[in-house]
Amino acid sequence: MQWHTVTEFGRWVKRVEAKTLRAERFNIGHRLIVCFVFIILVMLGADAVVLWQFHLVHAQAERLNDIDQTLVTLLRVHTSLLEFYAGVEALAQTEDAGLLVTGAGPLRTAALEDMQRAVSAFSLLPSDLQRGPNIVPTIHVIQSSLPSQLETIITLATSGDWRAVQLRLSNQVRPLETLTSALVEQVDHEAGEQRAQTVLNVKRVERLVFLVVPMTATVALLIAATLGLAITRSITHPLARLVEGSEALARGEFEHRVAITGEDELAHLGQVFNDTARRLRDLYGALQTSEDRLRLVIDTIPAHVWSAAPDGSVDFINRRWLESTGLSVESGLGWNWSSAVHPDDLKRFVDELQRALADGKPMESEARLRRADGEYRWFLIRNVPLRDELGNIVKWYGTSIDIEDRKEAEEALRQAQADLAHVNRVSTMGELTASIAHEVNQPLAAVVASGHACLRFLSAQPPSLAKAFEAAESIVRDGKAAGEVVRRIRALFKRAAIEKVTLDLNEVICEVLSLLHGETERRRVIVETDLGKDMAPVMGDRIQLQQLLLNLLLNGIEAMDPVLDRSKKLFIRSKRDCPETVLVEIRDYGVGLKDSERVFEAFVTTKENGMGMGLAICRSIVEAHNGRLWATSGEGPGATFCFTLPVKLSAES
């Protein structure tokens, strides 16, 4: 029953809230202020009602008091008169006029004073209580008549007519006394009535108080509760919707919108919420689009793309990788991708990768990867780390690009360069035939001469064996030297694969100079050398480096052909110009260069029957050895060609 009332009340509150209050139109602050003011007013009203009721009770008590006061005052007047009369009578009994005169004065004054006091007391009483309209006038009559009565008595007394005085007293003064006593009776009667009435009133008021005060309190409480509830609901309801909306947002339902009513702060918050949700939806949409686009890019670019954890285990691979290798995602993740690497390249590649992972440095490597059809193709693989603000590696990103075609082209280019270099070598050797013959003939001539001498020593009588032995030794030595020259020449003619070995560059210089010895002699060229003692070994192909030096030296020799007015000098210097490189400098005193850079271009030549390939080949040889070749034409006649080659590193450590 009680519960039913509560729910009914709740419903009513809702209706009130919905229909009458429309609280959301106002700000919560204002709303709360209004609500509190209203509650305070209701309380104040209730207080006023209670106070009024208490006032009613109080008024009745006042009235009772006033009635008593009137009666007391009246009694005092009556008593005063009685005292006066008794006093005067006692004086009159003495029959002493003098005493009467002197004694009557204070009596009269006291009686009059009492009466005056009573009058003023009555004037203060509420008018409705002065209901005996004759009270005050009666007192006034007594007041006015008393002095004259006393005068008369005094006069009579003075004349010695005490009989008259007695008479006077009983006839004139006694009635006054009667008058007051009548008044007293009247007033006493009235007071009794009034008191009864007042007591009735008080009872009535008390009953009323017991009814009005609880009712007022209840009503005030009800109103305050209703208001409070309504206000609370007007706040919690939108808040609940906002919470619901936030939860929906948290679930990723960007389409969820909060219903907005009113214009208060919560409505504003709801609007902001809705805007935020819309914006989030747009942003999410844009993000999705951009991610889709990125994924499309990653999946369609003509390269394998992947990412890996700091320990190197792959956690993402793009579609192209899967399509190219024909493997599933699972067989590409972690370290499973290694199954696609060519067995011959796997160990080297994994070593390089592990080193890069350990050092945290970007890596670049080449390896063969198996295609879906089983064919292995060369790929250029690059790996870079991504670091956080503290410098720790959080991810590795990598790409691999198919460079099979490039590899083939490089191979073809290398082959073409090798062929060209070979042709150049052969043609150079052709030019040098006479000088080469000289180089071979020289030891051969020695061999032949020593041979004849040996024969003679043996056939002499007696045979000179010691000398013959000495001659034979020379024959062996010189024969070997001739063989060495032939071997070197044959090597230069051979079309051999490039083979890089540890070389002493000074040794190569000496070999080439000995090969050119005939040529320099024939052309009257003085060769001066300054070969560094501190040269470090280099990694290189002996034949290619011989060809390089041969071309450069021959170039210098030929450049001095037109020179007639000065000595033809060819100066060769080698030195270690820095810890990492060795430098070789070839200076001629020939005609010099017009353009020290163009000379290295193919088909650029100053010679009548030159092809213009020599220096171009020289440059390609030096570059294949990771070195540098340049020319200068300054300080004096002739040109200087310099090249540097990197020192072999392992020999250093």
């Binding site: 006479a434 000088s435 013959a437 000289h438 180089e439 003939n441 020289q442 030891p443 051969l444 001539a445 020695a446 061999v447 032949v448 001469a449 020593s450 004849h452 001498a453 003679r456 020593f457 002499a460 000398k467 000495e470 001659a471 020379s474 030595r477 010189d478 030297a481 005939g518 002699e521 024939r522 009257r524 003085i526």
Partner: protein, 209 residues
């Protein structure tokens, strides 16, 4: 070995060739002296003996041909050229300048030895002629200017009378000069005196003068 025995000089910048040639030369009983360059050869003290110079055509700084030119002015031994690669212009130049032989390496032993032999023979002859001439010149230097004047007339075939007429002196005086000339020059006959004058190469010049 006899200080007058022939000597062969070898000038080649290749020590192997130098060594082998010296060995070959010593195997035939000749003295050999080797030099690495023209300068070395020029600066060296040479024994007074019939000699032969085996000269490499290609030498650093001063070539074989240049050395040949330089030596041509003096009493150099005959030259046998050797070369690693022979070219026609060089060989022609060498031969024109009086080389005995021009041999390509590796050389035929016979040719080389023959050339050396020929060169030494030639040098011996030349040395003999040179010493003869030196003798004659020594004698000639003893003649007074007038006697040299008279000599030029005598070898030109002028009679004493004619000579006296040309020089404006007495015929007898010419006879005395002639006797002095014959004595100082050590000529036993007029024919010998004329031959001597020929060798000295003074005949014509004084005639023309």
């Amino acid at each position: 070995m006899n200080p007058d025995s022939p000597i062969v000089f070898v000038v080649d910048d290749d020590y192997r060739v130098r060594e082998a040639l010296c060995r070959l030369i010593s195997s035939i009983g000749l003295r050999a002296a080797a030099f690495g360059s023209a300068a070395e050869f020029l600066e060296s003290e040479k024994p007074d003996a019939p000699a032969c110079l085996i000269l490499d055509l290609q030498l650093p700084r001063v070539s074989g041909l240049e050395l040949q030119q330089e030596l041509a002015a003096g009493d150099a031994p005959p030259i046998v050229f050797i070369t690693g690669h022979a070219d026609v212009p060089s060989s022609v130049r060498a031969m024109k300048a009086g080389a005995i032989e021009f041999l390509s390496k590796p050389f035929n032993e016979q040719e080389l030895l023959q050339a050396i032999d020929a060169a030494i023979t030639l040098d011996r002859e030349a040395r003999r002629k040179r010493s003869e001439l030196a003798e004659l010149q020594k004698h000639y230097s003893l003649l007074t200017p007038r006697e040299r004047e008279v000599l030029s007339f005598v070898v030109a075939g002028f009679a004493n009378k004619q000579t006296a007429g040309d020089l404006g002196i007495a015929e007898n005086t010419i006879g005395v000069h002639r006797g002095q000339i014959m004595r100082k020059m050590g000529a036993r006959s007029l024919a010998e005196l004329v031959r001597m004058a020929d060798k000295l190469g003074i005949t014509r010049t004084s005639t023309q003068a």
